[in-house]
Symmetry: C2
């Protein structure tokens, strides 16, 4: 299993593009992206659990009922959510694209991200589709740009793996930044693979993996209305189809997990205003559920996030977040360490502070990737959650997002 | 029922004081407070649900088992939490005070607020007790100052009410600011009354009222380890004792609620870095539970809080927060208005945006007390939650709290 170039176009038979069609005022920002497979794909998706759902998600659930898809179109700048005519616009988008590509509208996945509650004008999308198709090619980066909102960096990855001697590829792009606290699915993540795998097993792989990846990240505790992770598999690698929970499925799961963990880390590291990636690793839990609750509570704590921004080894806030996490834990057994490229330091043993060098702690916490290591010393379960620090820029960005 | 002066010393027979004893480095900051009743009181308290509990809370549960108390001592600057010898220090504090006041140590309520995980030195407290007792008097403001941490304003109130023609008084002080997301109890709130009421009814009144008051506020989603609300009732008003759920109890409940709502609003308005008080009023819910979930989710949403800081009428974030609140609601029926001293404006009708004047909305949202009015149009239940905006100063304060 090795990392390769090409993002979502690394898998055979996938092309993509990203253009500025006019939804966003700034003409230098791409606002429309397309992912297209020459052949029909098995497809799987997971969606936000927010009761307020973007219109595209409602359309996609219908389109993906048969587990098939061939194209993904995504605009940024407008979430197409909480609009009276949202579903109509999402359906028309699929219709226009399907007509131009000469495919079935049901095989189009539609996606939108941006401001909630403003009607989405179909015209720029309709007018942009010809150029979008014309520019289809090995353009993963352009597509990754086209789905960005307040993201500052594109997020893409591809890896190569073997199924019974056949080389397969899987790649993904993501947009994250704010309103990131996924539950069941997260943000926009588009994954392509040429591995031959049935729709059922693809859905099983995705639904299982997100519990340990996208559902374990948080930027700000706000679960978005438009979260979606989708995978397209066109089978062009030529391996015998994976349609059972066997060794090959495990290999595919491992490849998918590698892509997802990579994108998770990129999403939180580029969280709105973030200067640091936080990784909370909890071990020694008596159940997986308790491990997850503790890890997620720590990366969600506004006070812990602000302390990390200030490189302040305020471990009491870590213990506080574990205490209110809902996990049943024995506080008196908890050890806490901070770790980074500069080393690691024990700050709390058996639930109480230990003498430690504030200087050394500061040096460790000044790095931009911080691990918060928690040992509950009560069992064998472990979990990791990812988050980012809380900064002035998060406030600046969100104090005036619409204008 | 009318507001009067005097805070916690308005009720007959209560005295208080607040001094600098040396726990905090800054000598101009009071760090030790005392509340004392000349006669023994019936007492009630509620505590944090955080599994990590400050040592004073563990001691208080023991001391209040008999429903009696006569004095409250509280230090700021150190939470006496997650320390190996915390309980010993809390017990010694009660012992020294009891000896000096010539009362039973079990009748002392101990309280601490400040940094978690640093051992609390008993010496400054021990040495400060004589001065603390010497300065006992009509000094509610000094006590209110003594319990402050990052609070910028003292929080106190007193009101007068009638029980069967007898004038009673009830007053309270509070400290809030950060780590405010109470569950079961909140922050430090000390209430005194000269109303004659049994311990059982006092506890019943308090436990019932906090569900609609302190459990409905949030500054940052972090449930503190040291939250506590306590009421002392010395009976000096001379009314016949309230010991059943009758009209007099209802009058007392109303007085208690008035004090608590006032302190709730003061706590969030003075939330760390806050520039605005947010009050989310949800009506038309099918159950009380759903009303509360929606109201609390809105005031907890980092994105809504940041939008309010920027006076941005981004109502989509309000809907988003309702959507992930866990309440079962019909999104298509929701109306949202923003309101302040400058008027009110409808921004969302039936779950979709309506045309509104951005100028008027800005004018409304530039005020420092904002109401977010949500009508779920699905029933008769209503609930109010209180919060504050998320600002640069919240980040500044918490990025470097310990140093």
């Amino acid at each position: 299993m090795k990392q390769i170039n090409g993002g979502i176009c690394a898998a055979k038979g996938f092309k993509s593009s990203g253009i500025h069609c006019g939804i966003r005022k700034n003409k230098t920002k791409r606002d429309l992206a397309l992912i297209y497979s020459e052949n029909p794909c098995n497809a799987a998706a997971v969606y936000t659990t927010n009761l307020v759902k973007g219109a595209p998600l409602i359309v996609n659930k219908k389109h993906l009922a048969n587990g098939k898809a061939q194209a993904v179109i995504c605009n940024s700048g407008n979430a197409n959510t909480c609009n009276a005519n949202g579903i109509e616009v999402a359906e028309k988008t699929a219709d226009y694209l399907a007509e131009a590509l000469n495919i079935n509208p049901d095989d189009v996945i539609v996606s939108s991200t941006g401001v909630i509650g403003l009607p989405l004008n179909i015209e720029p999308i309709k007018n942009g589709i010809p150029q979008l198709i014309q520019e289809l090619g090995d353009n993963s980066k352009q597509a990754a740009e086209g789905i960005m909102t307040t993201d500052t960096k594109i997020k893409e990855i591809a890896i190569e793996f073997d199924i019974n001697g056949k080389k397969c590829r899987i790649g993904g792009i993501a947009k994250g930044s704010g309103m990131i606290h996924p539950n069941m699915a997260t943000m926009l993540v588009f994954i392509t693979t040429d591995c031959n795998i049935s729709s059922d097993m693809l859905q099983k792989a995705l639904s299982s993996d997100i519990k340990e990846t996208f559902n374990m990240i948080s930027v700000d505790g706000d679960t978005s209305t438009n979260d979606m992770v989708t995978v397209l598999a066109n089978g062009e690698a030529g391996n015998k189809q994976i349609n059972a929970d066997d060794e090959n499925f495990k290999t595919f799961m491992k490849a998918l997990n590698t892509v997802n963990v990579y994108l998770c880390r990129k999403i939180v590291a580029d969280g709105e205003g973030a200067t640091k990636l936080l990784e909370c690793k909890v071990e020694g839990a008596d159940t997986l559920e308790n491990a997850k609750k503790c890890a997620k509570s720590v990366v969600c704590s506004a006070l812990t996030k602000a302390a990390m921004f200030g490189s302040d080894a305020n471990w009491g806030r870590v213990l506080c977040a574990i205490g209110y996490s809902g996990a049943q834990v024995d506080i008196k057994k908890i050890d806490v360490k901070f770790k980074s490229a500069k080393g690691e330091i024990l700050v709390c043993k058996n639930g109480a502070g230990v003498d430690f060098s504030e200087e050394k702690a500061k040096e460790i916490l000044l790095e931009d990737e911080i691990e918060i290591l928690v040992n509950l010393n009560s069992g064998e379960y472990r979990s990791t959650a990812w988050g980012c620090d809380l900064t002035y820029d998060y406030v600046r960005i969100n104090g005036d997002y619409r204008t």
